[in-house]
Subunit: 463 residues, 2 copies
Amino acid sequence: VFLVVGLGSMESLKRLFYPHSVAVIGASDNPFKMGYHCLRSLIGFRGAVYPVNPNASTIQGFKAYPSILDVPGDVDLAVIVVPARQVPPVIEECAGKGVKGAVIITAGFRETGEIGASLQEEVVSIAKRAGMRILGPNTFGFVNTHAGLNATFTETLGELEKGDIAVVTQSGGVCHLFCYEAITQGLGVSKAVGLGNRCDVDFPEMLDYLASDEETRVIALHIEGLDNPREFMEAAKRTVKVKPVVAYKVGRAEVNRESMSHTGSMAGDYRLYDALFKQSGVVDVGSVVELLDVAKALSFLPPPRGGRVAVVSVQAGPAIIISDVCKSNGLTLPEFTEETRRRIESLLPPMTIRSNPVDLAFAYSVETFMEVIRLVADDSNVDVVVVFQLHHPVAPVMVDELVGVFRESGKPFLFCFNAPRSRSREEVERLEKGGIPVYPTPERVARAVVGLVKYGRVLRKPL
Amino acid sequence: VFLVVGLGSMESLKRLFYPHSVAVIGASDNPFKMGYHCLRSLIGFRGAVYPVNPNASTIQGFKAYPSILDVPGDVDLAVIVVPARQVPPVIEECAGKGVKGAVIITAGFRETGEIGASLQEEVVSIAKRAGMRILGPNTFGFVNTHAGLNATFTETLGELEKGDIAVVTQSGGVCHLFCYEAITQGLGVSKAVGLGNRCDVDFPEMLDYLASDEETRVIALHIEGLDNPREFMEAAKRTVKVKPVVAYKVGRAEVNRESMSHTGSMAGDYRLYDALFKQSGVVDVGSVVELLDVAKALSFLPPPRGGRVAVVSVQAGPAIIISDVCKSNGLTLPEFTEETRRRIESLLPPMTIRSNPVDLAFAYSVETFMEVIRLVADDSNVDVVVVFQLHHPVAPVMVDELVGVFRESGKPFLFCFNAPRSRSREEVERLEKGGIPVYPTPERVARAVVGLVKYGRVLRKPL
């Protein structure tokens, strides 16, 4: 990190992520080259776009320039895709041009051995001198949906919707997985960032930056290894007071030599990370999908006041799974108050399950279902409500009622709904528009609840 | 269980699952009633269908009969949806008619207390006397795709494709989740069975039956609790010699009073089940989706000779996750032989990862990718090949080549491919038509490999 954490650092990152003009150095008309895709991803960006390539006068309809020094206007951001050996002179030219930030997509630096490491050092020293910020090298770039900017080599990522989840990964592949799932679900993202080799921008500074980023409400991290765990912990402790941080640490098996060679960092012992996350209030998860599921819950919902979960279901089996996953992770399914018990028993016949989890089974009707949900939402023993429903269509009228109860209660509601994929889309959208996040399986909704409760505990923990 | 395991038991279950004629007792024209949906599910069944209801002469276009005794032809199977109190007299009539099997969908038996338990005993004693087999009560029924029969209350399950995976669950809701995912994926199923209260047909006998069922190659189980674990173990030991058994045991947290009240069984301590599965060679999994993923792998592929996994990827991050999940579950990512190493090093530049997992990164081309896959598939240190690919389209020519290498190698290949859902469907279908199962995330493909290797070990274990 070049600058101490403070106004300067935050300002320079803001300039990196919100450029007014972008140059692609190594832009190309050849669809087999990275430089082709990096330029295509910028189509639709409202700022100026400058392809740089000494061998072309226009590229994909844009006027091209032989070097960045030939570009007439100011350049805020350079996306660099030239071969590794050419990167230091290109960075030198960027410095000469007064470029404020660079995304170095090119690989072949610290992750490949000594020669690459010295190339990387050269880049760092030039950028440092010029006060230029670097994302990468060996990164897929970043997307800033609120700036309408896709500074990556993947055009598809331009389909990401605006949202308030920022995802920061050490691997471009993992960031793609996260973003593709977000696109499939129609879940919005604020920023999707690949850190790559982290020669400059690294996790701790990103935490501080995203803590101050008004467009981000939840921060999701994919971590292979940290160079400075203490610095991470300090930044995380500051950040979690303002907004939740969810992290997927890969490398539970042992020290992974692969992740060392991947972006040149040590993976370390998972138990150390586990302790680090607990101490700093980071919510840990165990897969890319869980990273997204928990981030989604935290984006939709306020954290609950406690870990007492009520499950209301139309099928017992999935309700038992939800209960099992919750309890295995330290949550409880409390008994309802006397009053609630009495009223549920007057609503439901004995062949249903009238304790928690409630199973309406064959006694299901929209009216009874809603009445039970209302009762448990009002119960003072309950902090979170999970509703499970299969093969009964979720009618618009039910969505409206459910959203009403959810808002009145002030408690987080999560919905688990499943149908063959093609048919469930519209119903899921209706529910989520009402502010209730929907999950497709009992295990996934339960893990989302676990994450939500964990962050609630972080907020309540005495300092 | 009425009959000892043997020809009689197997023959009577075969008659239950392959009826020539089905009566729905409690059939209805009212879409708010179960009896409506049970009858609708039978539309398209090639055998005779007889609605039974004393208050109608036709239902949904079928001629209806006041009682089963009024039906002119033989009735092999009765689907019963009348209220619980009416079930014993209805079963008595079925016995009088010579019905061979009954699916009792009605709830309100052992799971609800003493009165229900005595109703259930009454049903059992009548059926036993008549030699009639009972599925349920308190079940959603069953689907037999190869018989074109959907004997459940969910019409959608008629969309299940023919396949060789049998799924047997203790919960209708969980069976729906499994089947909806199968429908979404286009994955075929042979039989989907809800056991409900298991007053007669239970897990041990189902294992023996499915072991002998020519249309089933893989058996997937969802278990809340077993009444007779020893009997289960003996049946499982016999079955796993013939075909794989995968089981998802719910109730890891503690003894779950819910699952007791759900279908009237004790859930028991998960550690006991863990030992039971290990001893009997059952492959255990941790979620409904994993149950399907592992069953799918075992349906597509022969189990590998060992647990040495090669990963070939275009992105390092997901490859590291695959490696991590494999290693955390007792598999290895071996070093390649000298020969393979040398040849991969001549193919790939140093900025890639040329050890296992292999990461082609920016050196990707279809030709290089295929060449590396060929090399690792031929490597004598490798038992299973996992290929990971993102955001490069899987061209038909590549599928053909990949399938060729897969078939020549005789080793299991699994593919992990991800793109926003709408766009990946066709490519996934092409790969799976070639016999290579496809998974959407690195964690899921890795867990499928783990299941596959576990079953290979079961087969190689000395008796």
